[in-house]
Amino acid sequence: MTHPRTGLGHDIHRLYPGEPLVLGGVAIPAPVGFRTHSDGDVLCHALIDALAGAIADGDLGTHFPEDDPDAEDARSLDFLDQFGHYVEQAGYEVVNVDAFVVLGTVKLRPHIEEMRTNISGALRIDLAQVSVKARSNDGLGPEGEGTACSAWANVLVYPRTG
């Protein structure tokens, strides 16, 4: 099959005072963050979920189970890097990714370029192939109120040639 394939990914975590907020591998100064065994990076998690969906091979939890002791203290950006290789070995290349993070109480815009740089590095694609956006949710819902942060990602992959 030589058709392009798309994948959709999503993740959300509750936010806690005093914990680190890591998105796209960027440590963002914030009064709240994720309390998880990995760094809780919902953006990287959503991207892995989307990539897994694009190649119809499970989801984030299939490849990186939460109860895996190796996942403790892990960096989700490293997971994304690993999964990028996995996608390549499965015979696909990433054409582009488009993602957005939803959080209403922390300014994310100043950190978007660093997130894009990290993601393009992890997936070994050009910066122009990576889009990251931020939404405040207009104060609505847990993300808008700042009690949770979520991310959505859409990816396009294409069978490798040659």
Binding site: Y16, T36, H37
Partner: protein, 188 residues
């Protein structure tokens, strides 16, 4: 705030930490402990340790909290205020802060901005911190680590860092206690 290096470390800690839980009581106890061990260090580290003991938790002051990682927030502010590099370095790396920095993805910033202090200086500040309870009572390093692990949820960053660091912290405390015993024996 109007603080400057002309203010004493105690003045600054009092101004910024009073009302932040019992941080000032804890800081006073850490300063008292550290004062008994400054002779183990050569200058400028002895005097810097005495100041850093008062100032090590300054980053918990709400007005200073930027990254949420209190060793770095405190050290950055002290540097801005013109404090000696040795004091800033001790605050930045106190009680093996490098582990928590890594969990927060801030280890590169920490290492780039502040060089780690000499091992013995780090060990003494860790020992002083670990032998002072949150309310300023004397305690053992083991009890202090257990108290931190109990106070913070198991999946919190502070708990994970303390759990990961516990062996190193106990080793720090033992090293300092041995050095202090040797000094007393020599003095007799």
């Amino acid at each position: 705030m109007g603080t400057s290096p002309r203010c004493t470390a105690q003045d600054i800690a009092t101004e910024l930490l009073v009302g932040v839980g019992t941080r000032i009581e804890h800081s006073r106890a850490v300063a008292n402990q550290a004062a008994t061990a400054t002779d183990l260090l050569e200058e400028p580290w002895g005097a810097s340790l005495a100041d850093a003991a008062w100032l090590h938790d300054l980053g918990y002051a709400p007005v200073l909290a930027k990254t949420g990682f209190h060793p770095l927030d405190g050290a950055r502010w002290l540097e801005e205020q013109g404090w000696r590099p040795e004091v800033c370095r001790l605050v930045a790396w106190h009680t093996r802060a490098g582990t928590e920095a890594k969990l927060r993805h801030l280890e590169h910033e920490l290492a780039a901005e502040f060089s780690p202090p000499p091992e013995l200086a780090q060990a003494i500040l860790a020992w002083a911190d670990l032998t002072s309870s949150p309310t300023g009572q004397a305690c053992t390093p083991e009890d202090r680590i257990a108290e931190v692990l109990d106070r913070y949820p198991s999946d919190s960053t502070v708990h994970r860092a303390a759990r990961s660091n516990s062996s190193q912290l106990i080793a720090d405390a033992r090293l300092v206690e041995t050095r202090l015993r040797n000094v007393k024996v020599t003095d007799q």
